[in-house]
């Protein structure tokens, strides 16, 4: 992972490139949609915004955070915090007994590249991006239904563009420096609420932010228009471009390990 030598748009946080060993996992072919997320969000058997229950639902949105871009029928769910995305995973684990989580940055980029070492999964030419991704040039300023563009070589749709995707990592500028060639990915542990890492770029980003190695992160101003203090743990007023997809590690953790994982990431901060 990391930058491609010929890439003129590369940024310091994409350096140096590394070869990592990634354990096998399944990844959702699509970004999680409103339809799917709503099964969780509207699950009346789960508490809302509880401070004591291990699995709880996000509180209602104060205003419509899809911003009129579309909900049911296959549009990606958006504007959620990383906590809300991880809580969805935890809820899914409780419902299915299968451990799901967000991908870490290395897993995300591995899946995005699907074996490619070019700037984009399909090659180096940004002119071809429109065949694979919704981004600034073709999105008309909104996200689109998932799965309409061509998938990457491994059948994953919308890895680039549409909504940016949460990863598990705290954002660290020196992420790649902290990785060791030939090693397992070093996941940056959860710290402050901001910045957390997101990947893939979104419908409002330019082509250079959709490069496979491009790294972005959350910031306090993603929730600047939340008038309440403390600000919502679940929703972001100014990040209409962020969403997520989930992975399912082949090697499933024990029940204790799974609980410990979710507890570690979903402690209030």
């Amino acid at each position: 992972m990391g930058v491609v030598a010929a890439d003129k748009a590369k940024k310091p946080d994409e350096l140096p490139n590394r070869k990592l060993n990634i354990e096998a996992f399944w990844m959702g072919a699509f970004e999680i949609t409103h339809d799917i997320f709503d099964v969780f969000f509207r699950d009346e058997n789960t508490s809302v915004g509880s401070e004591v229950d291990a699995v709880t639902r996000p509180t209602p949105q104060y205003i419509d955070l899809s911003w009129g871009m579309g909900k049911s029928g296959g549009y990606p769910v958006n504007s959620m915090s990383q906590d809300a995305a991880l809580m969805f995973c935890r809820w899914l684990y409780k419902k299915t007994g299968v451990f799901y989580r967000l991908p870490n940055e290395a897993e995300w980029e591995y899946a995005c590249r699907a074996g490619s070492t070019a700037i984009y999964p399909f090659g180096d030419n940004p002119k071809e991006l429109g065949k694979y991704a919704w981004y600034k040039s073709n999105s008309k300023n909104k996200y689109q239904k998932v799965g309409q563009k061509q998938p990457n070589a491994w059948g994953l749709y919308d890895m680039l563009g549409n909504v940016s995707e949460w990863t598990l990592d705290q954002y660290d500028e020196k992420y790649l420096e902290k990785q060791a060639d030939g090693g397992e990915p070093v996941v940056i542990p959860p710290g402050k609420r901001y910045p957390r890492s997101v990947r893939g770029g979104s419908f409002h980003d330019d082509a250079d932010q959709l490069r496979s190695s491009s790294r972005q992160h959350s910031a306090a101003d993603w929730n600047k228009r939340d008038p309440q203090i403390p600000r919502s743990r679940w929703w972001l007023t100014d990040a209409m471009f962020v969403g997520f997809r989930v992975i399912r590690p082949l090697k499933q953790p024990t029940a204790e390990e799974a609980e410990a994982f979710y507890n570690r990431y979903l402690k209030e901060n």
Partner: protein, 439 residues
């Protein structure tokens, strides 16, 4: 230096008013120049009245401004809310802790806390439930304070009349008043407003606040009825005004702003279809109102609190030459061509801008903001809508204002009876169109 009568005054002008509070709120003497500072240095002292989530947010925004500001007093009806407010503020890294100077003897709990907090400040932030706003606003202005107050600014016609009268007094005394109708301070709305003539004459308009609704705080054992209603203020009209007032005022106000006018009558329909339990007090879960402007044009306004239904918070103005879509932040002609698009990457945090501009004006000794009258008139539009949906009748603005209907309890105390009480089964009386009247 005071140079002329344009509303500027020396930033070090001294006004003494701490002795004026004895026995309640007395009118501060009128000075010939505006009262900008009570301190000998340039510190602007702030009191927060209403320390819930929004009040805490507003105080933090005030403390993040560039001016030399200091929070010196906090008042709230509830001790726990006051304490969680101070705790939240102390955790905000961007705020220099020296700016928060609220020792125990300047933390005022109870209904009368505002009387003790307001005199200590130059600027007062009013963020209690809106039923108290007229009372608190009047107290602040009579004591010569600049004000930031949240919307809505009242819940009943009597409250509106009080705010309108107080707004005049604030103007006379050159006190800055900003009302938290933050779309007026939001870049996209300001840019659209500048270009509103692109759509010609506005002939029709629509606005929406359709969403899921808000929290309930279950009744606790030993709670008096007053405490229960105060904890669940959203569901009681004397405190909240119903969601058509508490939330939807934002959207209605945008239409009034772009129209440059206020509706003179309203008719509409509404009720409780989904949110029917006793924990939801007396308010409706939906309203649809037709507001009539003096020029004969109509605003169709809808607001709904029903989970799993379409959600939308937006405004649309239709003109002779095109349409303004506030949410999309663009202007489109009648052939569908986008003739102006605001770049959403240039959107600001309007809640912060309200305070940035207010405190900059105060520090310079400028009189720049008098939002109270518009705040009151747009709030009244929403109350007019509520009166229309509750009664099912055509309600005229003049008559509604002249009615001076007052929903406030006779006494504010934990043991006093609120103006609405539950029946033996715990249900509250709810308006019924065709039966409820405002004659």
């Amino acid at each position: 230096m005071n140079t002329d009568n344009k509303g500027t005054s020396s930033r070090r002008e001294f006004v003494r008013n701490s002795s004026l509070i004895a026995g309640g709120v007395l009118a501060a003497p009128l000075f010939s120049k505006a009262n900008y500072f009570s301190g000998a240095d340039d510190t602007i002292k702030i009191a927060l009245v209403g320390a819930g989530g929004r009040g805490t947010g507003a105080a933090i925004q005030a403390l993040k401004t560039k001016q030399n500001v200091k929070l010196v007093a906090v008042a709230d009806a509830f001790k726990d809310r006051l304490e969680s407010c101070l705790k939240s503020m102390s955790q905000v890294e961007e705020i220099d802790s020296k700016r928060i100077d609220v020792p125990a003897d300047r933390q005022f709990v109870g209904f009368d806390g505002y009387l003790k907090a307001i005199p200590l400040a130059d600027v007062v932030i009013l963020a209690t439930p809106p039923g108290f706003r007229p009372l608190h606003f009047e107290a602040a202005v009579k004591l010569g304070k600049h004000v930031f107050m949240e919307k809505p600014v009242a819940t009943d016609p009597a409250g509106i009349n009080k705010v309108l009268a107080t707004a005049q007094l604030a103007k006379q005394r050159k006190l800055n008043v900003v009302v938290g109708l933050q779309r007026h301070y939001q870049n996209s709305y300001r840019e659209l407003f500048k270009r509103k003539d692109l759509i010609g004459d506005i002939v029709s308009s629509q606005c929406w606040w359709d969403g899921d609704g808000v929290w309930v705080r279950p009744r606790q054992e030993g709670q008096t009825e007053m405490e229960y209603q105060m904890r669940n203020w959203y569901y009681f009209n004397w405190l909240c005004g119903d969601h058509i007032t508490e939330q939807h005022v934002h959207n209605i106000d945008v239409i009034n702003w772009f129209k440059g006018a206020y509706p003179i009558k309203a008719q509409g329909m509404g009720g409780r279809e989904v949110r029917t339990g006793k924990e939801y007090g007396e308010i409706f879960d939906h309203h649809f109102v037709e507001f009539h402007y003096p020029d004969g044009t109509i605003l169709n306004s809808q607001c709904r609190h029903q989970p799993k239904t379409m959600s939308k918070v937006d405004e649309l103005l239709v003109g002779t030459k095109g349409k303004i879509f506030a949410g999309a932040a663009n202007i489109v002609d009648h052939k569908g061509k986008v003739i102006y698009q605001f770049d959403k990457q240039k959107e600001n945090d309007p809640y912060q801008t309200e305070h940035d501009e207010l405190f900059a004006a105060i520090a310079k000794g400028e009189f720049k903001f008098s939002d109270a009258e518009n705040g009151a008139r747009s709030t009244m539009t929403s109350i007019l809508g509520r009166m229309a949906t509750y009664s099912g009748q055509v309600i005229e603005l003049d008559k509604a204002l002249a009615s001076n209907i007052d929903l406030q309890p006779k006494e504010y105390s934990w043991t006093a009876a609120p103006s609405i009480l539950p029946n033996a089964d715990g249900f509250y009386p709810v308006a019924v169109p065709g039966i409820t009247t405002y004659a």
